[in-house]
């Protein structure tokens, strides 16, 4: 691959945003789960729920810190890498990002302090409210940023004068055609990611026999979520796909590896898309299924990539990423149901009898990450060559930096991110094994440690 500055700028942005999204994906979902633990504790007074809260809030805080610092990077990268985007679409993108800072960032960052360190200083009710405010803040944040991203995919409510975008209707900008689908798809993805994270780490603790009184309950919480939300995600995903077909048919054609427009198009399960030859090699096809899924009719018309000469996204990455996302989604449904089937019929003492479920769950700990990244690659690479779909090309807004500068900083970022990712997973392992001892700075910590021993 030739490394021109444009490609390097895209790779750098991709590296930053891929690393960033890992952590909000966890925190948006995990915060609602923490609120659930907190409410259960308040209602029942059961110490196990408090233990679950205090164990998971540590992981939440660590994930949140990684999300914050990588998010700050994002807020600068719009300007350092894509100044043209802000100069052309700033009238629309600016206020949406501004509302994210004003309504979400300060809320979550401020009340996080109380959530983490304020238990002794505020009333039980205030602590609960702080937890709820952080959860609301993370969700607001997702609302605004997904609104902007969706607008870039399906622009609406604008007019263009001399190449610059102006707003005609804020309502249409914010609630643009793809926004509801993308927002709920991402929120649900976040809840699922968090569900598999809490199940995975709990299962790992059960396998290592370091589990506490709350481990089984936490696993059940995750299993119940996965059982309901994984099928829901497939349904939302289907609706999202129909919406994409309407507004971005080239992306769907790349996802499905369809080259010629067809009625009754077959569904390609696997194959090797070849952009030069404009065909998919060794394709395994199911007749008419693509038409059925995409148009909900056996003989519906599906447009092929050849219709969109010059404005097609890179086919292979979109095609493969889509299969990874769907594959993990299906796996999540199966494992989620399996987990519920076992966990809701068995008491904690039976954990030794289900080693395969525990292994499967702990293998799936970070499955949400892979599915979310794959999903974002589908939608973002699938939007290319546009930065604002159909209106503004990515190549038009790139900054003018030397390839060497971009290469150097790209390597710096990637090196740093690999180091941080390893440290993050190592810290999770460490916390999972020695939850109380590592943080026993106050007598209170010993209390929990004791509670854990008594319960186990």
């Amino acid at each position: 691959m030739e490394l021109d500055p444009f490609m390097l700028a895209r790779m750098q942005f991709a590296a930053n945003i891929s690393f960033h999204i890992l952590f909000p994906t966890i925190t948006i979902g995990l915060c609602w789960i923490l609120l659930y633990f907190r409410v259960r504790f308040t209602l029942s007074g059961d110490k196990a729920w408090e233990y679950a809260y205090s164990f998971w809030v540590k992981i939440f805080a660590l994930s949140f810190a990684l999300g914050v610092v990588s998010g700050i990077t994002m807020s600068f990268q719009f300007g350092t890498n894509w100044p043209g985007f802000m100069e052309r679409a700033g009238n629309i993108a600016g206020p949406l990002l501004g509302y994210e800072v004003l309504t979400a960032f300060f809320l979550e960052a401020s009340f996080l302090g109380i959530m983490l360190f304020g238990k002794e200083r505020v009333s039980n009710r205030m602590h609960l409210i702080a937890t709820a405010l952080v959860a609301i803040g993370t969700t607001f944040s997702a609302f605004w940023i997904l609104s902007l991203n969706s607008w870039m995919q399906t622009p609406a409510g604008y007019r263009i004068e001399d190449g610059v975008f102006f707003v005609e209707s804020w309502w249409e900008v914010i609630f643009n055609p793809s926004f509801p689908y993308r927002f709920f798809h991402m929120l649900n993805a976040s809840l699922l990611t968090a569900a598999f994270l809490i199940m995975g780490i709990s299962a790992w603790r059960a396998l290592k026999q370091v589990d506490g009184p709350a481990t089984w309950r936490v696993m059940r919480t995750g299993a119940a979520m996965a059982t309901l939300l994984a099928p829901l995600q497939i349904w939302i995903g289907d609706l999202h796909g129909l919406n994409t077909l309407e507004h971005q048919p080239a992306k769907v054609a790349a996802m499905e590896g369809i080259w010629e427009t067809e009625n009754g198009a077959p569904l390609t399960l696997f194959g090797f898309p070849d952009e030069e030859a404009k065909t998919t090699h060794f394709a395994i096809k199911v007749p008419k299924l693509a038409s059925l899924i995409l148009t909900h009719e056996w003989d519906g018309e599906v447009k092929g990539l050849n219709e969109f000469e010059g404005t097609t996204p890179p086919v292979a990455p979109v095609f493969w990423a889509f299969r990874v996302m769907v594959g993990i989604g299906v796996l999540m449904v199966l494992v989620g149901w399996w987990a519920s089937f076992v966990l809701f019929r068995q008491p904690q003492e039976s954990r030794g009898e289900h080693p395969w479920l525990m292994r499967a769950l702990s293998a799936m700990t970070f499955s949400g990450w892979i599915a979310v990244l794959a999903g974002w690659y589908v939608t973002e690479i699938g939007r290319q060559p546009w930065v604002v779909n159909g209106l503004l090309r990515t190549s038009e807004v790139v900054a003018d930096h030397a390839a060497a500068t971009l290469m150097g900083t790209l390597l710096g970022y990637v090196g740093l991110y690999i180091f941080l990712l390893i440290s993050y997973i190592a810290a999770l392992r460490y916390l999972a094994t020695k939850p109380a001892r590592s943080l026993s700075l106050l007598p209170q910590a010993q209390r929990f440690h004791k509670a854990e021993e008594e319960g186990a």
Binding site: K58, L66, S75, G79, G94, F105, F117, G118
Partner: protein, 332 residues
């Protein structure tokens, strides 16, 4: 009322305010990061404990400052951040390192605590210096000749000294005992370099830019502006006096140091604002040329008017909840 005139002015003020609050708030926690290697292990925990509930929200003010630049002055945002690409990247890496080190140092196991402490300090120093460099480059109108680079280097040294002072001042409010005495010493040591640099910056700014020189040294402006250097000098003299009268600091007046530093920072901001106005990038672009469309500004104006007081309100609330002397933090 002409909105296309007033709205850019409002957002320039809001941006200045956000960045001033950033310097004061994140300044003290960055300064504590820089000071960390000079403390014993127990003191390190206490120092980190004193900033624990706050640093996250403190850092959000720079996101707001840069956010307003992006929202209200998209043209300037692109030019400034493209020109400052390298220092911005370096600052971001510093902020990333220190932000995560804060959590990792107590969550990754005792064996690695030393490494994360070192990364916390290094990240804080790198971020502070890079911010100084950016400020310097911005004041010169993004010049990249030798004078411009020298000037940026000068501010890259100044800003960490200011942050160290703010960090010491914070410790004088939040701690007592041995650490308190150390904070007095640290603050006293940082005072001279900071004062010297402040003086150099004040002299250098008009030298670097003739536009700025004209604004300050013509009558009658010069007389009207006199309070700015006078108040700054008085506050600085107050700092010197307080640091040499530790008995006052020990009897519960440690907060006076932070107050005096706030006065200096406010004066510096007013001075800087006056120097720049009405330009947003000296010699290239004024506020109104760089501004976004009026309807976009109006949309975010209402959001700002409603949320900013709320943000200030709950920030005040958080500081009240965690008032008093700090303890080493536990996540349990």
């Amino acid at each position: 009322m002409d909105l296309s005139f007033w709205l850019p002015l409002f957002f320039a003020g809001a941006m200045g305010l956000a960045l001033l609050i950033y310097v004061l708030l994140d300044g003290y926690d960055l300064g504590i990061g820089v000071l960390l290697p000079f403390a014993s292990d127990d003191e390190k925990d206490l120092m980190i404990g004193s900033i624990g509930p706050f640093w996250d929200a403190n850092e959000t003010w720079i996101v707001l400052g840069v956010g307003i630049l992006l929202i209200a002055f998209p043209q300037a945002h692109g030019i400034v951040l493209t020109a400052l690409y390298l220092p911005v990247t370096i600052m971001l890496m510093g902020l990333i390192l220190r932000g995560v080190a804060f959590d990792f140092r107590v969550k990754a196991g005792d064996a690695r605590k030393g490494m994360w402490n070192a990364l916390f300090a290094a990240g804080s120093l790198i971020a502070s210096a890079a911010q100084g460099w950016m400020l310097g480059a911005y004041i010169t109108g993004l010049r990249d000749d030798t004078t411009g680079l020298l000037f940026s280097a000068l501010i890259a040294v100044t800003l960490p000294a200011l942050y160290v002072l703010l960090g010491s001042a914070w410790l004088l409010i939040k701690t007592d005992g041995v650490l308190f005495e150390k904070a007095i010493r640290w603050g006293r040591n940082a005072l001279l370099p900071m004062g010297l640099c402040l003086l150099l910056v004040s002299v250098a700014t008009p030298l670097v830019s003739s536009v700025i020189a004209d604004k300050w040294f013509t009558l009658p402006n010069a007389i009207g502006l006199l309070p700015i250097p006078l108040i700054t000098a008085t506050a600085y003299a107050g700092l010197v006096w307080l640091f040499n009268s530790p008995v006052i600091l020990r009897s519960g007046y440690g907060w006076l140091i932070f107050a005096a530093l706030t006065v200096i920072c406010v004066m510096a901001s007013i001075g800087l604002g006056y120097s720049l106005f009405p330009e947003i990038i000296i010699g290239r672009l004024d506020l109104w040329e760089a501004a976004a469309a009026t309807e976009s500004l109006l949309f975010i104006f209402w959001g700002t008017v409603i949320t900013l007081p709320a943000i200030l309100g709950y920030t005040f609330f958080i500081y009240r909840v965690f008032r008093g002397k700090a303890t080493a933090l536990s996540y349990d």
